[in-house]
């Protein structure tokens, strides 16, 4: 399966926010832990709403979480 041309910094942001677990983040944005794992691994591109929710949890802009890689 082709990797998405979107990079993300969720793993680093989780680490910087008290080593937040994937489960914690998943619960806060209303998805499963497996979905967070898939987003982090670049296997699944989240919806715009989920992307904004992730950025909101970390208190940063969406461009600080996701960037276009192509």
């Amino acid at each position: 399966m082709a990797k998405l041309p979107i990079a993300n910094h969720i793993r680093r942001l989780r680490f910087e926010h008290g080593e937040m677990t994937q489960s914690d983040l998943a619960e806060r944005i209303g998805v499963t832990r497996q979905t967070i794992a898939a987003i982090e691994a670049g296997k699944y591109g989240p919806s715009l709403e989920a992307a904004f929710r992730i950025a909101q949890v970390f208190g940063v802009g969406i461009e600080d979480v996701f960037s276009w890689e192509a």
Partner: protein, 145 residues
């Protein structure tokens, strides 16, 4: 493994066991089609499938009640939709195959045998469709999407 992936595995395994037993017995010649023996075996397989699926899904829900009561998230909804599109195509091919094979009369076939064969092929089309849904879901869950 997520609760939804677990239910997909339950569907796959129970269908393979129950309908594998039915079609395996028919193909191996252990029961002759269009007999009461075949009808009872088919009925037993369907009842077994329902009992196994309900029982295992209840067990899966009891082991992980939080996930079981959580609605599908966006990725799970996409996987659900994509798998059912594939299942729909498999079913359509099965329906077409059933229609064609119904009109193929083998030498010595009587009307009853044609009906039973049609029912068996039609049921197999539904089974193949359900299997393709479960397999697609498992692949997508394993792959990430």
């Amino acid at each position: 493994m997520s609760f939804r992936e677990r239910t997909a595995w339950i569907t796959l395994i129970t269908i393979v066991i129950c309908f594998g037993a039915y079609y395996g017995a028919l193909l191996a010649g252990l029961v002759r089609p269009a007999t009461w023996q075949a009808f009872h075996l088919g009925l037993l397989c369907i009842i077994g499938l329902v009992v196994l699926q309900v029982g295992l899904n209840v067990l899966a829900a009891l082991l992980n009640p939080k996930d079981a009561h959580t609605p599908r998230d966006e990725r799970e909804r996409l996987i659900h939709a994509r798998s059912h599109v594939i299942g729909y195509y498999v079913l359509m091919i099965g329906v077409a195959a059933t229609l064609i094979l119904t009109h193929v009369v083998f030498k010595g076939d009587d009307f009853g045998q044609v009906i039973v064969r049609t029912v068996n092929i039609g049921t197999f089309a539904m089974v193949a469709s359900a299997l393709s849904v479960a397999i697609t879901q498992i692949v997508l869950f394993r792959r990430g999407y």
